[in-house]
Symmetry: C2
Subunit: 398 residues, 2 copies
């Protein structure tokens, strides 16, 4: 009996408590990957005695030129591992600057995840591993030992879209225990994204917790809706079940979303303690979310005091025939005349939407519509959008 | 200019909006995997022209005997793919019964994920793909078009453990719009788990939404704390940052968690509209969480009216020297004398903890302490724990 108990304990300790855990342990790799060293070099490891070649690819490596059907483009670099006599492949990076990086392994030519790192992010249908090198702006992406806000996944009724829809809401530290009213930032994702994107890829909760703890941003509520009007929720989280996510979802840029944005504001303002006025409403988004921001804010031209266009996808579209897109110039003029505190435009120098943003700024200049403009290095990346949020949020509601 | 705009749109459509998405498209596989057919057979696919062999392993396949250091054990089965002339490997399963299944691919002997299925669950340090075959009990695991509760990740102050800690809270549909008070189920994870486990692996939110919509369970709040007292949050979600999760975390079963459980109850009862009395408190957990349930409920012997021990890890432990573990028989007797509505014990016939549960029931029988007992097929698996929650929740607060 004592022996059986000890056996049980050994089973518990060595064989895991679930079939998946057991499976994990059958194929256990007792190695650490990635290992971040004190000098910010990083060692990647893989136990694969039978493999012929192992490489890592990711945005911590210098970019390389890649031939594509659209011509030569920048693509993620690759680096070769070396195998030791125990069948463990290793690659050690150079010292890396502060950043949240993503990477994948390439095993005998096949791109896949690092099996020793369960921290993954999904971008559209692709899953990659991540790691953080701290310091500088990347410290904002970490969960530090400071007060934390709450992140809730809720469902709101959208009469305009005829469905209940999932929405992600960040409330700042202290929200639940105070009776104060808060300002609200509506934060929109890009094409291929959903109500999870700013939380997972954008680190929005960590950024806001850190900025608020440092006294750099006002405590505010962040509302992250789903901009794909045919979905009630992110892929895998809604009534459509599991399906392969697509980059371009039908009807995302046809005006339906913008026209029904008041459903979201109404939900927020009747469910949260908010300052329900223009002074205390901001809207921002990346790429398609920048396009949505531009159109929502001029279509409801006296609603928001702060606009943020991050790498905005400003472009005419063939399917943009909805009522929302009529009289763009007139509604922009009305928005300008109604007044606002901040119209903030940011884009990277190598972004493929750079020229479209130059043209848009020329249009605003021609009208005399004021904006702040930030031009960063880099292109159309989450790396930039995390920084844009970190720079934009402190400007709000001051 | 028109041409440039069209080019931009093409870029947008074909090359993705982020570096990760671009990377995803560079290695795009324009195939669907898994594809669930109407007859509930499932086709798995992989584009890997260079691979020598491709297999799938998962809990939808018959188990096989595997040699382990602990002797012969059941392990997940494997099935071989066949390659077509386009380099696409395929395997079609038999018709499968309703269930949430997990699986992995084995490419040239290397176990990894299906790159065409971004739906993954982490169990300890292991990540596997999932899919659902609907029907029967598995319909409870789906997000159906019904009212949905809210799932919030919050942080509570634990003076007893000296830190702020992350906690997952499900509030039922209608909670925010009503002024009603609700009963509470405290739902505990097993070793290697955390405050994410019941939501991701356990499908607790979907199960509760569906049971409530069907009128089978009372609307209730579900509180899912983190039972690893050295963590402030799940791996990757707390101040410890990213690190390789371990199966056995120090101090998880030394009594500290149980002794400080009132910190959690206090937080819940001062932050939510709850019926704060014994009649309206339930506690349940799987494996280590069943152990915690047993000890918390007898250490605070007049606190809970409903106890659920799912595959409970009932066993003496060498590190179980804390005050909580003194006078187990006496406190159980007090719990019995104080009275309760339900003491529910469930375990699978092949669970390695089966004998320990037989002994525990013998002890309860000897004392005259009443319980309901359910013996299911299968072993120590999430498959069972999802069913146990589905069966247990309808018995509460009726």
């Amino acid at each position: 009996m004592r022996k059986r108990l000890i056996l049980s304990i050994l089973f518990l300790a060595f064989l895991g408590l679930s079939s998946q855990a057991q499976e994990a342990l059958f194929r256990a790799q007792q190695i650490i990957s990635p290992e971040i060293h004190e000098d910010n070099t990083v060692t990647f490891r893989l136990l694969a005695p039978e493999a012929k070649s192992v490489q890592v690819t990711g945005d911590f490596l210098p970019t390389v030129k890649i031939d594509t059907p659209m011509g030569e483009m920048d693509g993620p670099g690759k680096a070769d591992f070396i195998k030791n006599d125990k069948g463990v492949w290793e690659f050690k990076s150079q010292a890396l600057g502060p950043e949240l990086y993503n990477y994948s392994f390439i095993i005998d030519g096949f791109t896949t995840i690092d099996p020793n790192n369960p921290f993954l992010i999904r971008d559209v249908a692709s899953v990659t591993n991540i790691f953080i090198i701290g310091g500088g702006h990347a410290d904002l992406y970490k969960t530090n030992d400071i007060p934390h806000g709450t992140v809730a996944r809720r469902w709101y009724d959208s009469p305009g879209l005829g469905m209940d829809r999932r929405i992600t809401v960040y409330t700042p530290p202290g929200y639940e225990s105070s009776s104060e009213k808060y300002p609200v930032l509506y934060l929109l994702h890009g094409a291929g994204g959903d109500e999870e994107a700013w939380i997972s890829l954008g680190r929005a909760a960590q950024i806001m917790d850190n900025l608020i703890a440092q006294g750099k941003a006002k405590p505010m509520i962040i509302v992250m809706p789903n901009g794909n009007v045919i979905q009630d929720a992110a892929p895998g989280e809604g009534s459509l079940g599991y399906y392969k996510p697509q980059f371009m979802v039908p009807k995302t840029m046809d005006g339906t979303y913008e026209a029904n944005f008041m459903d979201i504001i109404k939900f927020v303002e009747s469910n949260y303690r908010v300052k329900a006025n223009k002074d205390n409403r901001a809207i921002a988004g990346l790429s398609m979310g920048g396009y949505h921001t531009m159109h929502v804010s001029r279509y409801f031209p006296n609603t928001f005091n702060y606009m943020g266009l991050f790498s905005a996808a400003i472009m005419p579209r063939e399917d943009a025939t909805g009522k929302v897109y009529s009289d763009i110039d007139g509604t922009l003029k009305t928005q300008m005349e109604n007044g606002y505190k901040l119209y903030w435009i940011a884009i990277g120098k190598t972004d493929f939407l750079y020229d479209a943003n130059v043209e848009y700024r020329e249009k605003l200049d021609g009208m005399g519509m004021k904006y702040e403009y930030v031009e960063s290095e880099g292109g159309h990346t989450w790396r930039n959008w995390r920084v844009y949020l970190s720079d934009f949020a402190p400007k709000l509601f001051q």
